[in-house]
Symmetry: C2
Subunit: 194 residues, 2 copies
């Protein structure tokens, strides 16, 4: 029996649903298991679902011309992950999304989302608030990227994702911060001997 508590609680933070609405919403979700290192989406593919993470950790990243990964976003429990641009405009994705841990998600397909938004327009509000919050969080990150030193960004990262430091490798963290793994190692040493 699947547990929908987490996603329903998440929705319930922003909009109120009655029993039938909850059941309809749940009926549109598809449960999926993504093994560590498996891809949810690759560059150039069409991202056909948005994904609510109930367990595990996903990363959204790009590859530059030298084959170096740059992590745009982490996704953990109680978050949505996906490529909204590809999903919503039916265009090839600019990102790779894969799993850093064995991960479980509820997927909603484009057709089902459209159905949902038409049937229960309150969900427009839910997604509006979600994107709004994501926008605000990204604005903060942009500010830090253009005005903080690498050390300050690392310390902020630890605040923002307290659980992640133990769960993922330093390499992933450095990629998210926009620095090399070597330099992050140097920073950590500098911080600890202080």
């Amino acid at each position: 029996m699947l547990n929908y508590d987490l996603i329903l609680k998440n929705v319930n933070k922003h909009i109120q649903l009655n029993k039938e609405e909850k059941e309809f919403f749940i009926s549109l979700l598809h449960h999926k298991f993504i093994k560590r290192k498996d891809f949810l989406c690759r560059l150039g593919e069409y991202s056909k679902s948005e994904n609510f993470i109930i367990k595990g950790c996903l990363r959204t990243y790009t590859l530059d011309e030298n084959g170096v990964e740059h992590i745009i976003a982490f996704g953990i429990e109680d978050w949505w992950a996906g490529d909204p641009y590809s999903f919503l405009t039916n265009s090839p994705s600019n990102y790779y999304i894969d799993a850093l841990e064995d991960t479980e998600v509820f997927q909603i397909s484009k057709e089902n989302l459209e159905n949902l938004l038409e049937t229960i327009p309150k969900f427009e509000r839910y997604y509006r608030i979600l994107f709004q919050n994501a926008y605000v969080a990204q604005q903060k990150r942009i500010n830090q990227n253009i005005s903080f030193s690498a050390e300050q960004r690392y310390l902020e990262f630890l605040q923002k994702f307290p659980s992640l430091e133990q769960r993922i490798s330093q390499k992933q963290i450095s990629s998210y911060l926009g620095i090399t793994p070597v330099f992050l190692s140097m920073l950590k040493k500098k911080i600890s001997t202080r």
Copy 2:
């Protein structure tokens, strides 16, 4: 007589309104003139409106501990500007917003926006799409901040804001890019002698 064509056309890109709806929407807007160098919002203040720019140019920025400005966003004609976080959560703003040119906006207050979203729920969809697009654009900028050189970011800036290079000072551009004015000057020279 004020001209509402630009804002109505903008709304019309995403949702369809009938005559009464248009009139109701317009009735909620307040026209405001912001002189160059005047502030729409300061750090710690409550941002009481979202602002649709019909003419001019706004910037959203922070000041770091050394008093250096860091530009989070530019706003030009046909764009919304504001601090959604402060606006929507009634909390003090983290940003300064001021005018780089004499600017005209249509403002919508929080009360009026709430009224609008209740009266014409389609506007939830409009704002959802707006935030979604803004989110996607920011994601792209984050990618460039963590993976591009300053020169690449500058060239991308020229693509993204072709009109702005002539309209604002190099200092503003360097601040947006996250580099010093001195270094931008060096970059431009390097690019031109090539």
